[in-house]
Amino acid sequence: MLSNMFISFYRALKFSVKDIFRNVWLSVVTIIILILALFSVNLLLVVQVISRAAIDTVRDRIDVSLYLKPEAAESDILSLRATISGLDNVREVVYVSKQQALEDFQTKQKNNPDILEALRELDTNPLSPSLIIRPQDVGHYDSLIADLNKISNPIIESRNFDDHKLMLDKINTITDKVSQAGFFVSLLFIFITLLVLYNTIRVAIYTHRAEIGIMRLVGGSDWFIRSPFIISSIIYSLVGLILTTVIFYFFLTLLQPYLETFFMNYDFNIIGYFKANFLQFFVLELVGTAIINIIASLVAVRKYSNI
């Protein structure tokens, strides 16, 4: 019984492979459409990964600076720092002393000898101490600013509340739009794949109508008649996915240098990300593609194989 099933499966597989080569151009077109669909899905995934990384980068850089009077006593500064640390939505408050500010400034301007010379001629440290406040959640950035504005302390010299939130919102908007466009393009390709595969199987059945008629005549079961077409759709999915993986890898290799420039000073490697998650992506995409293709071929087979 088991060996009979194995023999039948082997014959269905043979029949299916022969059919793929018999209609080779139709098979090529089907696989190309599959590649386009899978490529657009993968591209959507990359856009999401990049946008997440971009938001994380900006989030890390978002901070609010309170500049303090140069003569402010250390104890007053530490007391203010404690007050701010106690506010909601404050992740961290970093105290940058006058000396630290000077060192940071000198490091930053090390390639600018004129400025360093001018600083030396001043004889005193012109920089103010400051408190750098990093928010817990950038979504509550506005309320943090409001809370900081409420603090009234004589040692506060000025407040620098750059609107980082605007930049974050812009990134969010752009990535949302790109994701939406990608989602619709992917849906479109998936729909086209369904139609193309449906047609491929229909043509395959038409090519084999004599064989199918004789199979029915001599007692071929529905399973034996239909399975080669289902197997063909699985083969299309597998070949399409393998080729997409190879093409997409080369695409990521080309993309990586641009991303490195974009994410300067931030460790972001899209190839590494895909390598680390390769198995998960491959299996999920294979299962998804196979399900879509099997549905398309089942509908075509049910409709056209009753010859």
Binding site: A210, E211, I214, L217, G219, G220, S221
Partner: protein, 226 residues
């Protein structure tokens, strides 16, 4: 062996292809089913292989009521009730051997069994030396022999021959009838559907005549009466 009880087949809107046909065919019989074109002979054959369901009535093959069988049982019915046609229905891109083997491949038989069984059957039908030829390389009579060989590989209980000599000259036609008689002698029930008067008269076997979907004559040793 085959029992038909008041079998009717009505096609829309109201065309009666079979009209209350009742028959009893015993195991090992050789029956000629005759009648003019459009009298319901082919419809009867289609009902016997489960390709059509009668509108009314019962058809039994042995204890198997085939009017009630599901779609999944039809392949098993076709292995018991084999059929050959006027147009042979061979695959042109396969040799005669491969055409016969195809029937066994479909049933999931092993390659070893196929290699041993097919040459035996080909020899029985007289194609032992031509089995590796393609259908277009042999005569019509030989193509029909290959179709008979394909029908025989399952050792069916019943062989339905629907106008098997329709495309053949008289010599080839007689050879096919002789082959069917030989198969019948081995114990297979043969139902020959034809409107060839000479063949029916020479056979001197049971003749059932259909007219307008009804049985108008059933003679144990009959002649073509229309």
């Amino acid at each position: 062996m085959i029992t038909l009880e008041n079998v009717s087949k009505i096609y829309a809107p109201n065309i009666k292809a079979l009209d209350r046909v009742s028959l009893d065919i015993k195991p090992g019989e050789f029956i000629s089913l005759v009648g003019q074109s459009g009298t319901g002979k082919t419809t009867l054959v289609r009902c016997l292989i489960g390709e059509e369901k009668p509108t009314e009535g019962k058809i039994k093959i042995g204890d198997w009521e085939i009017t009630k069988i599901g779609k999944s049982e039809i392949p098993y019915l076709r292995r018991q009730v084999a059929v050959i046609f006027q147009d042979f229905k061979l695959l042109p891109k396969r040799t005669l051997f491969e055409n016969v083997a195809f029937a066994l491949e479909v049933a999931g038989k092993s390659t070893k069994k196929i290699k041993s069984l097919v040459p035996q059957v080909m020899k029985i039908v007289g194609l032992g030396n031509k089995m590796h030829r393609y259908p277009n390389e042999v005569s019509g009579g030989e193509q029909q022999r290959a179709a008979i060989a394909r029908a025989l590989v399952y050792q069916p209980k019943v062989l339905l021959a629907d106008e098997p000599t329709g495309n053949l000259d008289s010599i080839n036609a007689q050879e096919i009838i002789d082959l069917l008689r030989k198969i019948n002698e081995f114990g297979t029930t043969v139902v020959l559907v034809t409107h060839n008067k000479d063949i029916v008269n020479r056979l001197k076997r049971r003749v059932i005549t259909l007219h307008d979907g009804r049985v108008i004559s059933d003679q144990a040793v009959g002649k073509y009466v229309i």
